[in-house]
Amino acid sequence: MATETQSHPFHMVEPSPWPALATLGAFVLAVGAIIFMHDGPPWIMAGGFLIIFYTAFVWWRDVVRESRSGFHTSVVQHGLRLGVLLFIASEVMFFFAFFWAYFDATIPAISKTAHDVWPPEGVIPFDPWGLPFLNTLILLTSGATVTAAHHAVREGDQKASVFWIGATVALGVLFLGFQMYEYGHAAFGFREGIYPSTFFMATGFHGFHVFVGVVFLAVCFFRARARHFSPEKHVGFEAAAWYWHFVDVVWLFLFVVIYWWGIVGYVGPLV
């Protein structure tokens, strides 16, 4: 293989089969999901997921290899960081839609069909100061541990960085466990009107993002163990940490708006 040196700092990426394969996965997933939703079997949908998971793995494996081979100059790293921030901005706007749906149902000033009484009659909501508050504390703590990990990475303390990333992953898993426990003990069903629609879709998508963040951090955990991160260069970890803080902030809004403000003025039993 002839090696050459290029005169610019950018990364000219080699051709790759993964984008086309990932698209095939997305297509199979879409068609499979529709078949599943119209009373068909779930296997095609599952196949689409598998293709996407596989491509996600090999694609990011390639990115890690390219990074290890020195293609990620400081300019490329700057671009990657910018890309992650922009992606998070788009995610914020995705949640914006679900908060909008919630406010549309709860604030008469912006919607003619908003409910005068919230939660709607017959709905028994959660006590925000029970499990939801515990989960708030867990996520806030995980924000602190991921920052501790960041400091450890910047100081080149590999042992501490592994420990703090691992602690963050554990807290994320704990949060998801409590969230599933809470769903299992809800006094309202998924299909029972606008309250569960807004509650489950907003907190559910948040939970899914926590899951993605946990996977992201778990990858960082193994990369930290393999000494991939140096004090000067650890874009992958930074991206995971930023993503984690984003997930954290969304939860704070969910907790304040849906769990807490959502029962202001409510008199009755809580779960």
Partner: protein
């Protein structure tokens, strides 16, 4: 050497061949070309649908479509295809990919692999939409997919689900593309290429990418709610379950209005390049032009409910949205004024791209003036859902965008293919097309003012005359379109070899400093841009003689 990166590329990897070159591509020019091919294919299909619509409307009663749901499917698919799979892939994916890196002096896009998945996701979205049209009764909802018409009650089969997932998949591709463009423009400009020296086309893509980034996820959220309402029993838009169908309209138009600017801003950028080139003058009021686009992009996010005046919004709300909408006329006026001022005193050369640019300005002014009329909530109460609205938005975002596409194509085809188009043929094509679209759409203003509703396959005899004129216009437009496809074939078959810069001293942007056709890799030696916006002698690919 400066960066010490030992790139392990060999010649084979640099120039992949066969199907791999295209399917696995990480090259901004190849990906741009594929976007343009996708747009051409989609334009044919979406165009055939529009001629079927005009054929049905040529005379009252049943002309040849006796299944009115099928008519609704045609209207829906025509809208989706033209917006998502013709204009966006051509202007942003096609010209954006080709010319943003070339114009800012970058060797490629920031994330070349992600660039590729944007293309393929858009293609997959297009296939899903075509499938939607053939599943069950098809999606007869219009491109706005309003519930309750789009609910499981009125569209029980999988067609609407296919349409929803088509937009999800294509939208994901566009969001990734937006991230790519913003990162490329902010991080990969050549030395000296400051933001305030960037060509206006690059500015237009930058603003467009921000609109995509912030608007599309809101649509994705709304589509997700629609999908779960239809299939999993949520009640976001179901009144019986405490939901609100107007919520969908808010979410849709919060995306849908910026989408209008997503379509027309890149067109603004192309027109600025063309007008400047063929007037042999820099664009008048460059900074004002750039920030007018920023202003349009910003205000575009806070006017969405002017699409919803008849949904029962309060009077204060309607007053606000009327005012905010009218404010958009100010930065838009800056654009029109500056294009005219660029031409003023210029040495104008009426080559075919310039004809298309002037045509664009005319069409956009006509559509803009009717837009000022429609922005008023009181007037819109009478015009809402009539052919006046159809005429308005086809002028501003349909034919205006197509004029920018055709103009951009003729302007850049020499650079992209190395072959120059035939000037007399292109001019003839312009005039046929210009006459065609105006005969097609101008009478629709009269039909709308007379009260003809949109999205209805039949009409009373009172509307016969102008409908016939409009359909004749569609026929002329069809001839113009076929001439354009012939022109493409003619260029590749008989086109003369294009010079690096076929336009002379008016063409000052960096893409004209590289050979035609542009080599597989360009700007591998970064140009250094001086205070005039021109590359310094001896830098990059520019020889001192130029």
């Amino acid at each position: 050497m400066a960066y010490g990166v030992a790139a392990g590329h060999d010649e084979h990897a640099h120039h992949p061949t066969g199907w791999r070159r295209w399917v696995n591509s990480t090259n901004h020019k190849d990906i741009g070309t594929m976007y343009i091919v996708l747009a051409l294919i989609a334009a044919l299909i979406g165009g055939i649908m529009s001629w079927m619509i005009r054929g049905e409307l040529a005379q009252p009663g049943v002309t040849f479509i006796d299944n009115y749901q099928f008519y609704n499917v045609l209207v829906t698919a025509h809208g989706f295809i033209m917006v998502f799979f013709v204009v966006m892939p051509a202007l942003i994916g096609g010209f954006g990919n080709w010319f943003v890196p070339l114009m800012i002096g970058a060797p490629d896009m920031a994330f070349p692999r992600m660039n590729n998945i944007s293309l393929w996701l858009t293609t997959a979205g297009f296939v899903l939409l075509l499938i939607a049209a053939f599943v069950g009764a098809g999606p007869g909802t219009g491109w706005t997919v309003y519930p309750p018409l789009s609910s499981a009650t009125f569209h029980p089969d999988a067609a609407v689900d296919f349409a929803i997932l088509s937009l999800h998949v294509a939208g994901a591709g566009s969001i990734l593309g937006a991230i790519n463009f913003i990162t490329t423009i902010l991080n990969m400009r050549a030395p000296g290429m400051t933001l305030h020296r960037m060509p206006l086309f690059v500015w237009s893509i930058l603003v467009t990418a921000f609109l995509l980034l912030l608007a599309l996820p809101v649509l994705a959220g709304g589509l997700t709610m629609l999908l779960t309402d239809r299939n999993f029993g949520t009640t976001f838009f179901e009144v019986a379950g405490g939901g609100d169908p107007v919520l969908w309209q808010h979410l849709f138009w919060f995306f849908g209005h910026p989408e209008v600017y997503i379509i027309v801003l890149p067109a603004f950028g192309i027109i600025s390049q063309i007008v400047s080139t063929f007037s042999r003058k820099p664009v008048f009021g460059y900074l004002g032009m750039a920030y007018a686009m920023v202003a349009i992009g910003f205000v575009g996010f806070i006017v969405w409910a002017h699409h919803m005046y008849t949904t029962g919004l309060g009077v204060d709300t309607r007053a606000y949205f009327t005012l905010a909408t009218l404010i958009i006329a100010v930065p838009t006026g800056i654009k029109i004024f500056s294009w005219l001022a660029t031409m003023w005193g210029g040495s104008i050369e009426l080559k075919a791209p310039m004809l298309y640019a002037i045509g664009f300005i005319f069409l956009f002014v006509v559509g803009g003036v009717t837009g000022v009329a429609l922005a008023n909530a009181g007037i819109d109460f009478a015009m809402h859902d009539t052919y006046y609205v159809v005429a308005h938005f086809h002028y501003v975002m349909a034919i205006a965008a197509i004029f920018a596409m055709f103009g951009g194509y003729l302007y850049w085809i020499g650079k992209m293919s190395g072959k120059q188009y035939n000037e007399p043929l292109a001019k003839a094509q312009f005039w046929v097309f210009f006459v065609g679209v105006n005969v097609l759409f101008f009478p629709q203003h009269f039909l709308g003012l007379a009260g003809m509703p949109r999205r209805i396959p039949d009409y009373p005899d009172a509307f016969v005359g102008w409908n016939m004129v409009s359909s004749v216009g569609a026929l002329i437009t069809m001839i113009g379109t076929l001439m354009f496809f012939y022109l493409i074939w003619h260029t590749f078959r008989y086109g003369k070899t294009a010079e690096a810069n076929p336009w002379g001293e008016g063409a000052t942007t960096l893409e004209w400093t590289v050979p035609s056709p542009a080599p597989f890799h360009t700007h591998e030696q970064l140009p250094v841009i001086g205070p005039t916006g021109q590359p310094r002698a001896g830098s990059g690919a520019v020889s001192p003689a130029e």
